[in-house]
Symmetry: C2
């Protein structure tokens, strides 16, 4: 986390990404300043739309430099199309600013696929990383759980999963401040014989690994919310489904709780008394608190805020980006991948078991 | 659902399956009689353990025939081992009774993998069905959602997913009583270009199908709880992860709600007033209400109760089995697969899109 003595950080922000851009982007930046002291922003977007909003906010004025970008990547745009024709977009210009060394990281609430395609094209992957992954932090019974990949790679081999495990572990150590985080592979059962070939092979590699990773073995879907391990590793297909299933279930529960507490005069009276406690609980489950999905494995910091986010959510995504910069996640990943490539190759006979 | 005028049904019950067998099995059978009028049971297990429990229950005595089975399939037993060496087990004998025409369906809370392996070996699949699937019903914002496969097949091709769609649709029509249920394929996005090859190909086949299936297209994880479609189709890997992620999230939410409502004297007072409304809500989310996973696609009715279930949960699994028998699910699946095999073959060029 960033304290007042940390070195100054510059973040490139895509003003035009997300359903309620640019308003909530600028409000979110302002809100982020409540807890971030040494941060300044390069803000990319249509200057006619963006500049007046910045100028109207006294605190932001001195810390934001608006850079005009004529184009906007549409939310439904195919990543390949955005990559080819979006060079003048606010998203791409923000990424380019990081590549040019003008900013330390980029934050956008825009089209996820386009952001990943552009960031991968411009930043490239870190040495040894085959594919970047999308990671995010979730509330759990015991602390918090990091999960990756959340949708960048629908088809993953064992080597990809192993790389995600390494990146997730570095993140949990450097950003969440865990001394020796545990890592689990998401599967349909805890027994060795369960699962598809990729998870079985990845488990064999992690068990044999010379890396100092505390590998727990397989975990199941319920372990995500239980916090059985600090890092849950999975392919982007299952990870995305797990993420959205959890969101849907929480929303369903929340809906019925609200309905129950307004279902009769007596229930409403009860809700009045339990109000402060319930508010605290709702805050714990507020998805905006966990806004800010990280693209791990790229040679540049890139954070995606939820497309439907508000200023509070966006401010949290900004904080995540600032943390990733300040805590040197990419340096940690580089170091661990250097060990991974110099370590002994896994025994293929064991690996296919 | 079974009314008092329905034809008599005989269910073969594995007395020894589940963590708290045989007590909760027999209590569950007794409880099921509250709503099932025309049912009798063949109960398989160690007669020394089982018979006294049956004899002590007046209502059951006349409706249960205890059949001695010397062996029990252990909860951790490999399916292949159980299949080879479990011929005298209560689970296998119960399945055999259905195959012999002595019972209309089997219910067990034992080892899922062993139950599936034995049921598949003894019953075989219905004509045209390549692989059976595990299906269950979940609470949703709008009504209920059927999901399959929940773990029988970790690797699925497009044809498997299409067959699951057909079986799930028949179930929703015949057992849930929906006139024209909608079917969705679980994916990481709703757009056509998203997802892995299997879901894309399955979607193309379902769109072209001559079957009278109301195919909605792709759905995401959050759509399961939202009830966007009546039937959610997925492979057993993602389905199992989604199922358990939803369970874990509901448990986490429930835990924090309980903690919030006991966190202060005022909150406790509030909980007292809201008590009846909250109880109703808890009942809605009670996983025991949804106990009873169905093995669809087999030439015999087989229902799996949760291993950690209690008498209430087991009684619901019994009701599910009775419904499957009474509502002629397998007849419906047979009819639809006959249409599937006589219909025009899907264009392979379209199917790979």
């Amino acid at each position: 986390m960033i304290g007042p003595t940390a070195r100054p950080i510059t973040l490139a922000v895509d003003a035009m990404g997300g359903d309620r851009a640019p308003q909530i982007v600028i409000e979110g930046m302002n809100r982020a300043l409540d807890s971030l002291k040494n941060v300044r922003f390069l803000l990319f977007g249509r200057s006619d739309d963006v500049s007046p909003l910045v100028t109207s906010c006294r605190r932001l004025r001195a810390l934001v430099e608006v850079r005009h970008a004529a184009d906007v990547v549409a939310s439904g745009e195919r990543p390949s199309v955005a990559l080819r024709s979006g060079r003048k977009s606010s998203m791409r210009q923000a990424i380019d600013a990081v590549a040019a060394g003008e900013a330390d990281g980029v934050v956008s609430a825009g089209n996820t696929g386009a952001l990943m395609a552009m960031a991968k094209f411009v930043f490239k992957t870190l040495p040894g990383v085959d594919r970047p992954a999308i990671a995010a932090v979730f509330p759990a019974l015991c602390g918090r759980t990091v999960m990756l990949d959340l949708g960048a790679n629908v088809n993953c081999g064992a080597e990809n999963l192993v790389q995600f495990a390494v990146m997730g572990e570095v993140f949990a150590r450097n950003v969440l401040g865990l001394k020796h985080p545990s890592v689990g592979l998401l599967n349909v059962g805890e027994e060795d014989l369960k699962g598809n070939d990729a998870v079985k092979k990845a488990a064999a590699i992690l068990q044999q690994s010379t890396l100092d990773i505390r590998f727990h073995g397989f975990v199941e879907g319920n372990d995500i919310a239980m916090g059985t391990v600090d890092v849950v590793v999975t392919d982007g297909f299952s990870g995305n489904i797990a993420l959205k299933t959890a969101e849907g279930t929480a929303r369903l529960y929340s809906h019925h709780l609200k309905r129950a507490l307004t279902s009769s005069p007596l229930a409403r009276l009860g809700a009045l008394f339990s109000g402060p406690a319930l508010k605290k609980m709702r805050k714990r489950f507020d998805p905006r608190v966990y806004d800010g999905a990280m693209f791990l494995g790229l040679n540049g910091i890139c954070v995606k805020s939820h497309g439907g986010t508000d200023a509070f959510g966006f401010s949290n995504a900004i904080r995540v980006a600032a943390d990733l910069v300040a805590d040197g996640v990419n340096e940690g990943i580089k170091q661990d991948f250097a060990c991974l490539s110099t370590g002994p190759a896994p025994d293929p006979k064991v690996a296919t078991g």
